[in-house]
């Protein structure tokens, strides 16, 4: 990602199979990484990424450094078992947003629409608001929600 929230410079984080841990002081940027993943998956609720409006997701500068012009996050998925209906061994999804809040989506480098991205992700059973992503403070959500909402989770899985 680059220019996304507190990650001004381009950074690439390898996420291998198994158990990956992120730790660090309060306010260092750990949850921002989670926000970046949700952003790239096509989430539209800025509130869920702790922003009022989309352009607030762009690095906003400091005393000596100006704000960035855009924020972009790319996710690479292993496609060796062809879980995505594409022939490439890896599938990349990229979302870039400019100061006006306009998003551009790319699949494997080709510009596309958010709808196409969601469609591709759902073929791998990935959803921007999936319950496989538990946000900070939300772990007991499944206990606090209504029985109907909880049953809908089973619907989604079935």
């Amino acid at each position: 990602m680059q220019g996304f929230k507190s990650f001004r410079k381009r950074v690439s984080i390898p996420i291998l199979p198994g158990f990956t841990v992120f730790c660090g002081p309060n306010g260092s940027g750990k949850t921002n990484i989670l926000d970046a993943v949700c952003f790239a998956l096509g989430r539209t609720s800025t509130k869920s990424m702790r922003a009022d409006r989309l352009h607030e997701l762009i690095y906003h500068g400091n005393a000596s450094i100006p704000p960035s012009d855009y924020a972009s996050v790319s996710l690479w998925f292993d496609n060796s078992d062809r879980v995505f209906p594409l022939e490439t061994p890896e599938v990349s999804i990229k979302r870039k947003i400019n100061k006006k809040g306009i998003s551009v989506y790319k699949i494997n480098g080709k510009t596309t629409t958010r709808e196409k991205v969601l469609e591709l992700l759902s073929s791998a059973r990935i959803h921007p608001d999936g319950f496989n992503i538990i946000m900070q403070g939300d772990v007991s959500q499944v206990i606090d929600m209504s029985p109907e909402e909880r049953r809908e989770i089973i619907d989604q899985v079935a």
């Binding site: 507190s6 158990f19 499944v142 029985p147 899985v157």
Partner: protein, 153 residues
Amino acid sequence: KKEVFYECLRAIDKNFREVFKEIAKGEGSLQLENPLDIRSGLLIQANPAGKNLLNIDAMSGGEKTLTALAFLFAILKYKPAPFYILDEVDAALDKVNTRKIAEMIKKLSKKEQFIVITHNDYTIKQGDRVYGVSMENGESKILGLELPEMKAG
């Protein structure tokens, strides 16, 4: 379609009973409010460690976390998601339960991909790899950390 739902619910309920027994040492189960209506709500029955059955809203902070994670793991064992991202889910847990959850994640991560954000040292040690996030002058940076235990094993 009804068949699919019942088969799915039965499997997840079975998993939930096992996971809940393992991490909360108690009896837990999932049931429809109206077993004959697949549109009715889903209830969670949970008695941690042999306590009398209480409304799940009356559970303590830590007990709710354990029950919620047991639910998540029960679904995982039926139909795993491509990855899981858990942000400080151990915040309300005491030391004993933090270990149980960290060890369960370690076990499940042999097959499933887990990304966990935590402040807890024990959980950090269970990780296959650890990234330290820090901030300098308002900018985040990420460092791969090597823990002594990792080198040994």
